[in-house]
């Protein structure tokens, strides 16, 4: 993996929130087509890492390189238009499902006829094309999160960041959605980082696990490696809950 040029490289990333240092990452890379899960207990710094990578919060220090080019701190718009992010809540707009999925394309001023086509393709990918004209307020939790994912995929991102996207869903919905997302990610070849403290999301989708604790990376490797040698009680709990998908 290290012989491949990284898609995204983070160096010396330090993030403070509310005056306290919440993230201190000396080095972290994501490779093209790689799927990475960032796991850790609440307050480990997962969300800060995602927001920091996405250029949505200003770091105290550090550099981010995307395809070898540094992302300038004050002007992240070009970078932000090459990636996408999905949050814990679906955060849908007060309009139809189709308009929600089209929003990122509208922002990029994509031609009108192409917007509809791409938005519908993305909805079909997540199996919700029949919901296109429905109000986003009339969706179930699982449907809403599918729309949120379809919206992110519609812009054809080179990297997709997901911050605990399924944490508010029930178990059967979570399993189905994680399976669909894993299939779509592998078919599209999109690199992904998924922050989670859920083993279903972590093991069904990714090739590498990164364990965060108190703002630092304390362990990383394949899911098998990490589970075999848990570095802390959180990882051990992953093992104890019994993972049979490896």
């Amino acid at each position: 993996m290290s012989q491949t040029a990284s898609l995204l490289q983070v160096e010396g990333l330090r993030i403070k929130r509310g005056g306290a240092l919440v993230l201190d990452i000396p080095c972290f890379s994501i490779f093209p087509d790689e799927k990475v899960a960032v796991i850790g207990p609440n307050g480990a710094g997962k969300t800060s890492l995602m927001l920091g990578i996405a250029g949505l919060i200003r770091p105290e220090a550090g550099t981010i390189k995307f395809r070898g080019e540094p992302v300038k701190g004050g002007d992240t718009i070009d970078f932000r238009r090459r990636i996408a992010m999905v949050f814990q809540e679906p955060l849908l707009f007060d309009t139809t499902v189709l308009n929600n999925v089209a929003e990122g394309l509208c922002i990029r001023k994509v031609a009108r006829q192409e917007i509809r086509q791409r938005a519908m393709e993305s909805l079909e990918m997540f199996g919700i094309a029949d919901l296109a004209e429905r109000s986003a307020h009339k969706l179930s939790g699982g449907e809403a999160q599918r729309v949120s994912l379809a919206r992110a995929f519609a812009v054809k991102p080179e990297l997709i960041l997901m911050d605990e996207p399924f944490s508010s869903l029930d178990l059967p919905t979570r399993i189905t959605l994680a399976e669909d997302l894993g299939r779509i990610l592998h078919a599209s070849g999109t690199a992904a980082v998924i922050a989670t403290h859920d083993r279903i999301e972590a093991f069904r989708i990714v090739e590498r696990l990164v364990v965060l604790d108190k703002g630092s990376i304390v362990q990383q490797g394949t899911p098998q490696q990490v589970i075999a040698e848990p570095v802390n009680s959180f990882v051990a709990a992953f093992r104890r809950t019994g993972y049979s998908g490896m």
Binding site: I77, I107, R151
Partner: protein
Amino acid sequence: MELIVEGILTALKLIVSLDSEVVAITLLSLKISCSATLISLLIGIPAGSLLALAEFPGRRLIISLVNTGMGLPPVVVGLFVTIFLWRNGPLGFLEILYTPLAMIAAQAVIATPIVTGITNAAIQSLPANLKLQVLALGATRCQMVWILVREARLPLLAAVMAGFGGVISEVGASIMVGGNIKGQTRVLTTATVMETGKGNFDVAIALSILLLLLAFGVNYALTVIQQRERPR
């Protein structure tokens, strides 16, 4: 009771007969208050958005001042606008005192804090991560503000209603900066005060009814739009 009935009958007579003076007064009221509301929207929506989305020193103090300004007494506004527009005042060179322009200015001063305050509250009430989600979709800062304002459009219609309601019904500032000049600056509220002072209660009631109908008509139209947009 007889007085009220007489007033209602006079109002109906004035409306049906399309009394030229009453029509002119009503149209001027509408023109002045709509212009002032429009100005307050042009200032208040960007200002309220800025207060809701930006972090800068003194932000809380400014929000407190805006919230205080939402209850600004019209006579105080009238007093200061008069001083500013007085021939020796800082804006005396404009020579607009006792004209509809002065009344628009005074009413805009009354409505702007109302629109700013409601806009600020409306945008702050959106989900905390929505701003980040919009930016994550690749929006510029301007696109982000536009999308958030669009998302807050229902409470913003309430801001329009509150702003318009605040100015169409005020009398203190209008009478001070407009002077209630017949055919020039006489509006429904100032005419009502004058007719009441003269003891012409039937005409005063008629003008009051017209004022209520005007306020109701505009608010009804805005309410229809707001309720059509309401998520079900």
